[in-house]
């Protein structure tokens, strides 16, 4: 069901809004999903599901900050996807993304460090480092305060440094 504004704008404009959204943000959201999930196929699926959800949203035309809104949906979606697939295993191996990253130059060292972070932590790292978001923007996406975002990021830096120092990937 569409909002009044959508009905007033009509079908043609509605298509424009959707296409514009896809063209403008698809790559960004895909990169973000990949950063969190660390698996190309999962990131592809997640990105499509995020846009499916976004484009079906009755509030689409009324959203002012579409970028933050999409990141917010993607964050929830990827975390849920990762958590729902989390299995307590008796077979202790991490399924890394080798099969799914044929065109991405393999970086096992990077992969090993990222695998040791929680999905929520990867989301924060990707927003700050890859997407170059400010702490104010991160705060909106993650529904926390900017101060908390900054604090968490600093803590994460320490954690990554510890992993590097420990050299689990040597």
């Amino acid at each position: 069901m569409y909002s009044k504004m959508m009905m007033y704008r009509g079908e043609a404009q509605e298509v424009d809004v959707r296409e514009q959204l896809l063209e403008q943000y698809y790559m960004e959201i895909f990169r973000y999903c990949y950063g969190i999930l660390r698996n190309r196929q999962d990131a592809e699926d997640a990105t499509q599901e995020v846009f499916l959800k976004a484009l079906e949203s009755p509030q689409l035309a009324e959203i002012d900050h579409k970028s933050a809104w999409l990141y917010k949906i993607a964050y929830r979606h990827c975390i849920n996807r990762a958590k729902r697939n989390k299995l307590l295993q008796f077979i202790p191996f991490i399924e890394s993304a080798k099969e799914d990253t044929t065109s991405i130059e393999e970086d096992f060292e990077l992969q090993t460090i990222l695998q040791q972070l929680k999905v929520e932590e990867r989301a924060l790292i990707v927003l700050r480092i890859v997407e170059d978001k400010s702490f104010d923007e991160i705060a909106i996406i993650l529904s926390i305060t900017a101060a908390t975002a900054r604090k968490r990021y600093e803590r994460l830096k320490g954690k990554v440094q510890k992993i590097i120092k420990r050299g689990a990937f040597e």
Partner: protein
Amino acid sequence: MKEKITSFEDFAQRLKEESMQIEPWKGIVVQQKKSCFIKIKIAPSLVMLFTFLFVTSTVVAAFSLTNLQFFGKDEQPMLNMYEMTEEEAKPHFDYDEFMGKHRGLLKRLREDLANDQYLAFLDVEAYEALGESALTYTQRPKKFEDFSQIPADFSPPFLLKEKLLGEIQFEELTYMYNYETRVDNLAQSMYQEALRLNVPYITTEHKLNTTKIDYISLMYGGFDFEYGFQITIQPVSDTLHTTENLSHYTKVVHEGEEFYYSESDQTLLYVHQTQTEQYLLEIRQTIVMADAKDKIPLEKLLAIAEELIP
């Protein structure tokens, strides 16, 4: 060959470089005529994230940072859960790295396995570095998405319900059989055979003990509900070692029963004893709320536990 990562700055740089190489295979998919987005493929991919790796053991770690102790109603200790020290956890992370490169292969091999078979997998390099613990056992998990399709002879050690709290709908059951019929000195003989054949890894197939279930996962709820839950059940001895951070768990006593609750992970742990076995039950909220501050109340997790425990 890439340079070794020695600092956070190196790490950030490598992450940036990697992100520049990433492009979706499918590109942007829009169906112009109907102005609706087409979901091409939602593959049911089994992403195994081992942030919560349990290793059963009867040996108590001397230098564990944190532990959770579960006591029965008779005050007798039932289970000690120990958080591994970094030193203890390192071989597991090393093992994860060795096995990471075989992810796709193991997935394919699992798909070809019969229901009552399991696969033993040995990477030669991993065995040389880690010894016997490099041996991996894997099986095809048994999965049911329709409650009515669950076999009648499936008898879990808890009450299996189609709806939790009368409203949260069943979504999926997964279980795995026991590897009890393990073969003695298997790793060593597989290693010798791999050397003889001059192959980097080797596999053998064996019979599962289908009279015993080692792991159960239940999914309830999802996006259409206010909450989503994963409930996992596994038999445990008196000691568990984990790589998970246990420091944020707090003990909760509810109607004489002991639970451990993590507010940050929205997880409740409980040990359930039957006449012959004891099980670790984990109830986890899996849906992230729109407002991150809006956590699921502990009472709701306890109410679910009450529903499950016979």
